[in-house]
Amino acid sequence: MSTVFLGDIDPAGRAGHEDHPPRMGFFTDTSVCIGCKACEVACKEWNAIPEDGIDFTGMSYDNTQGLGGSTWRHVAFIEQAKPLAAQVPGVQHPAGEPADLRWLMASDVCKHCTQAACLDVCPTGALFRTEFGTVVVQEDVCNGCGYCVPACPYGVIDQRKDDGRAWKCTLCYDRLGEGLEPACAKACPTESIQYGPLEELRRRATDRVEHLHRNGVTDARLYGEDPHDGVGGAGAFFLLLDEPEAYGLPPDPIVTTRDLPDMWKHVGMAAAALVALAVGAFGAGR
């Protein structure tokens, strides 16, 4: 069991990839998302993911509801009675009374954590760290044990009911190797989903937040870009316009295997104590 390091580490190198390419990831800038869901469709098309529910929710335009075994991109639609910087929404509630309104849209995806608990707990090696620093499930290795499901601090990875195996975003590993960008980023018409070397994306994201702040969008903040957060920073991070909770994201995600080394240490100590006790008992018995 590896020790959990938080901070700006090189996950691909630590996984044994020598001379690997730079770490690649997503920067999803929700401030320019138009909620077209092209990412959802492109993802399903490229990865041949089955349809998973034709159900009307009545919750804004979100009929997908969340990430899952058969939904690897999910666009959240959040209607709020709050202003968006200087935007004039024009609506009145009730009639005659100008009301605040903003409609946030955000495309969620697997975070490809620097410290990925799903990968840590996978007993078969189906989950692995690629040379791009991303985390991928090998569908022909996964045995459906499901350990990874509760391990994910974001609730991303999930099993398909009909086959039991775990599925999630591969960051289009099969496209990356060919020099192509992931399907969702390719389909995004407004560059809300940006794909590239993580370092460059982080710089771009910082500039973007500063730009938005200068233009009065003071709600803009990054989520998952910090290598010192509870998962060592995400390979797929976001620019949000509200607290993460508003988007259904955990405010302070922590790699669920963070305490495993400690726990194993405690287990070891306890075992040693038991052994000592047993030895002592044996000795005393003599």
């Binding site: 320019v32 138009i34 909620g35 077209c36 869901k37 092209a38 959802e40 469709v41 399903k44 098309e45 089955p50 349809e51 998973d52 529910g53 034709i54 159900d55 009307f56 929710t57 009545g58 804004s60 335009y61 009929n63 997908t64 209607e79 009675a81 200087a86 935007q87 004039v88 929404p89 024009g90 609506v91 009145q92 509630h93 009730p94 009639a95 005659g96 100008p98 009301a99 309104l101 903003r102 409609w103 946030l104 849209m105 018409p189 407004t190 560059e191």
Partner: protein
């Protein structure tokens, strides 16, 4: 798009989507661009990133509004008042671009003394004939001009055809690529624009009553909000800044839809925003290649390139047709070249000067044959067969029930589509089967369903929203029996010609003489699409590809399938297939695809320079006169004779393009100027005036005239009842306004999306969008079901309660609006009732378009009754509202 044609000379978007990035202010109205044109919307986002103000005017707060700086909710059906208010603001605050207006528009032109405005006649213009409900536009002419109007009435006056009324026959469409004809040459002008009968002064008086208070009263827009828009638009117009308007079918699908766009055209001309970077009016077409389907038309009244379809007159020759249709000035003066070249492309060697180039082979109009009239003739048993290519009228056309009644009365029907759409199965599972009104075994229509190939399975072109042709290449062979439309049409024609071979019946000559010799390839004998493109482009007598429509001749030495597309195959190369990356050329990107006319991306771009040929400002430079080389040059292809200097003035008696002066940027117009006032070309008035929709819960506060006096209403029929409006008794039975629209996740009537699991799961069911206030008022449960009722039908929908729908205050009364996407039908993975069951047939007189963007309705909790009880519910509403066959049919 006759309004753009009548205003500027060509019925296409004046600009292109990429140019949005240069705009300082973008007003999106009558369009939900982010949802319906998400890819093009990236250029709005780019403009915003560069600091532009983005304004969305729409009854609903949509995904477009979510990204806009300013959302202005208004009552559906009131846009002319809002836009007229902006015109009034511009005129009364001297915010117009005087130099532009004086030189490039007909603002200084003087009108006839006997013209009467709506101001004089309480809501109608002079020339209205109450019996025929049509306008005689002769009084709308310029002073001293020979009356030679180009709108429909002229044709009616042609003589007694004995072939039934020519009707207005949607003549407005003929303005697609050229302005209307006017007699004579230059009208008298007062360059000071002070003459009381000059267009500018008429305009001032006409729009004086469109005040901010009126805007509030009719549209429900508070004055402060209106002021913000007015300020943004005027602050961002002028020499150094430009504002662009973006619209789609939210403007067109009204009984006065053409005049909506006219209002925007007038505003943009006053502000000097046409023909300039970041300016213009971007008409967003709602469907791939819809622009193409008017350029090479699926419309009954046009030939390719907007040449009018001849009517069934006795003894009409090519010469007399051309005399009547072409102009003396501008490029329409060359109509003979365009038409003769078209006839040569149709009939090749059989078309000779001696036989008028087979002009007599062309079909003739005996009246209006628009889709809705065709359905009527199906119901009447006159139309026996019907081809549906990628069209799903059983749920996708207004008053869908009538469409099904028509389909049920055919001998045969061919449906070519990807999936078994409702128009192929209505006889089995349509609402009339459910209600027991019809039984499948009683329907005699023989239905042939022939699967269609998708665009990835065939070569071909799209002409997109900005008049740009883009080639697509076949990626895979069509699966199973699926075939391309080109394959189907070519082989159908081939088989018919084989059956007719040897016939000596004169009636068969047009078919047998057709040049129908396309090469084919592959195991399915697919016609070579590029050969069709080459024919459309045209060739000279030696068969060499032409490169410009200026090379066309009227003597039969050239052939060209569509004169405005001439040049798309220049040099024998498929110009539409060009894909030079944006990074390797400037922002105009003239080497990506090919746009008509002559690969110009911004039309009328001569107007981007001042009268002396210099850019109005460096920031907005596009084309200019280069003194050294004595020609027009710039970033785009100049939309002007290359060597006509800014100081050129035509000699007396000059004709055609020669008659245009160096300051006539609107080269297709009969007077070279853009028309603030349309002396000809439109059937419902030279200026826009607000009329209420056919069914409206409110009275028209502007004029005594409630509805457009010349809108088309159907003969009384019990399946197309209209509703009482405003203060008429029974109007309160339908107290709400509904509007129909599309979502990103589905496509039009759903044939391309409801059958696909990845799209069906994103919008899984028909729903309505209502405000929390309306939900409470009517006891409708969020997430539950509601039933929406009009005098035509009742449909059910899941309920989405959202604060994005705002109650508005109109004439002191709180008014609720109901949003209805129209994608659904009974088939596919995502199903639901069709919104078009609710719509009536009352049409715009210029283009015969239906009014589905503003209707009056009721909404009630719960699902609709099943079976015959559904019809009883509608009948009950009709009874409560006191509806008779006369209701709503008044002038």
């Amino acid at each position: 798009m006759p309004s753009l044609g009548a205003s500027f000379g060509r019925g296409g978007a004046t600009t292109f989507q990429q140019d949005l990035q240069n705009s300082d202010c973008i007003v999106i109205e009558g369009s939900n661009m982010a949802e319906c044109h998400p890819v093009g919307f990236q250029w709005v986002m780019e403009a915003k990133a560069r600091g532009a103000t983005v304004i969305h005017v729409d009854p609903r707060f949509t995904r477009t509004s979510a990204l806009a700086d300013l959302h202005v909710p208004l009552r559906a059906g009131s846009d002319i008042v809002f836009l007229g208010g902006l015109i009034n603001y511009v005129l009364s605050n001297d915010k117009y671009f005087r130099e532009y207006v004086v030189h490039y528009t007909n603002g200084p032109a003087i009108l006839r003394e006997d013209f009467r405005d709506t101001e004089d006649l309480d809501g109608v213009f002079s020339g209205l004939d109450p019996d025929s409900r049509t306008y005689d536009p002769s009084t709308w002419q310029y002073e001293g001009m020979e009356v030679q109007a180009a709108s429909g009435q002229r044709d009616q006056e042609y003589g007694d055809t004995g072939a039934g009324p020519a009707s207005t026959a949607a003549r407005g469409h003929a303005m697609g690529s050229g302005g209307a004809a006017i007699g004579g040459l230059q009208p008298p002008r007062d360059e000071t624009m002070q003459h009381p009968r000059c267009v500018f002064q008429v305009l001032k008086r006409h729009f004086a009553r469109y005040t901010p208070e009126m805007v509030q009263d009719v549209c429900g827009i508070p004055p402060q909000l209106f002021e913000r828009v007015a300020t943004a638009v005027t602050d961002n117009s002028g020499r150094d800044r430009t504002t662009e308007f973006v619209y789609a079918v939210g403007w067109t699908q009204h009984t006065v839809g053409v005049q909506y766009i006219r209002t925007a055209a007038i505003l943009q001309l006053l502000l000097g925003n046409i023909g300039r970077p970041g300016g213009g009016i971007l008409a967003l077409r709602g469907h791939a290649s819809i622009q193409g389907s008017t350029d090479i038309p699926t419309l009954f009244n046009l030939l390719p390139g907007y040449i009018p379809m001849p009517h069934a007159h006795k003894d009409e020759t090519l010469d007399s047709f051309l005399d009547a249709e072409s102009t003396d000035k501008g490029y329409w003066a060359e109509m003979r070249s365009y038409l003769v070249s078209l006839l040569k492309s149709y009939w090749g060697p059989a078309a000779t000067p001696e036989n008028d180039f087979c002009f007599d082979y062309l079909p003739r109009l005996t009246g209006s044959h628009s889709t809705y009239e065709t359905v009527q003739s199906q119901i009447d048993g006159e139309t026996k067969g019907y081809f549906l290519y990628g069209e799903n009228p059983a749920v996708g056309s207004a008053n869908a029930r009538r469409q099904r009644l028509g389909l049920s009365n055919l001998d045969w029907l061919v449906v070519r589509d990807f999936s078994l759409i409702e128009s192929a199965t209505w006889w089995q599972n349509g609402p009339e089967i459910e209600s027991g009104e019809m039984r499948a075994e009683d329907i005699g229509t023989e239905v042939f369903f022939l699967p269609a190939a998708a665009q990835t399975e065939k070569d071909g072109s799209f002409t997109n929203t900005q008049r740009m042709l883009q080639w697509h290449h076949q990626a895979v062979e069509p699966a199973g029996d699926a075939r391309s439309d080109l394959w189907f049409t070519y082989h159908l024609g081939r088989l018919i010609r084989e059956k007719l071979a040897g016939s000596d019946d004169e009636m068969d000559r047009p078919l047998l003489d057709l040049t129908w010799d396309y090469p084919t390839s592959g195991s399915q004998a697919e016609p070579v699409a590029e050969a069709v493109l080459a024919e459309i482009n045209g060739w000279d007598a030696e068969g060499r590809p032409l490169s410009s429509y200026e090379q066309l001749h009227g003597d039969g030495s050239t052939a060209c399938g569509c004169w405005i597309y001439c040049g798309v195959y220049a040099g024998g190369e498929n110009q539409a297939a060009r894909r030079k990356p944006a990074s390797e050329q400037d922002w105009v990107a003239n080497e990506w695809g090919w746009a008509w006319p002559a690969n110009r991306r911004i039309l009328y771009n001569r107007a981007s320079a001042d009268p002396d040929g210099r850019p109005w400002s460096e920031r907005k430079a596009l084309v200019w006169w280069d003194e050294d080389s004595a020609q027009w040059t710039g970033h785009d292809v100049p939309d002007f004779a290359a060597h006509t200097s800014p100081w050129h003035r035509p000699a007396d008696g000059a004709r055609g393009a020669e008659a245009l002066s160096g300051i006539d940027p609107f080269v297709m117009q009969a007077d070279g100027k853009a028309w603030l006032f349309a002396p000809a070309g439109l059937t419902d008035g030279p200026l826009p005036a607000h009329y209420e929709p056919q069914d409206s819960p409110v009275d028209n506060p502007l004029y005594a005239q409630q509805r457009s006096p010349v809108r088309l209403v159907t003969a009384p029929r019990d399946d197309n009842r209209y509703q009482p409006s405003g203060s008429e008794p029974g109007s309160d039975v339908f107290p709400y306004v509904t509007t129909t629209y599309r979502l990103t996740e589905h496509h039009t009537a759903g044939g391309m999306s409801r059958f696909l699991p990845y799209l069906a799961e994103l919008q899984p069911a028909m729903f309505c969008e209502i405000s929390p206030e309306l939900a409470q008022e009517r006891g409708v449960e969020p997430g539950g079901w509601a039933t929406i009722v009009t005098a035509r039908g009742a449909i059910e929908a899941r309920v989405l309660v959202t604060r994005r729908i705002s109650p508005i205050t109109v004439r002191g009364r709180v008014l609720h609006q109901v949003g209805l996407p129209y994608h659904w039908g009974a088939n596919g993975l995502s199903t639901g009732d069709a919104a078009n069951e609710l719509a009536h047939l009352s049409l715009d007189p210029n283009v015969h378009i239906q009014e589905v963007k503003a209707l009056a309705c009721d909404i009630r909790p719960g699902r609709r009754p099943r079976g015959a009880a559904r019809d009883r519910l509608v009948a009950d509403y009709q009874r409560r509202a006191g509806i008779t066959e006369r209701t709503g049919t008044e002038q």
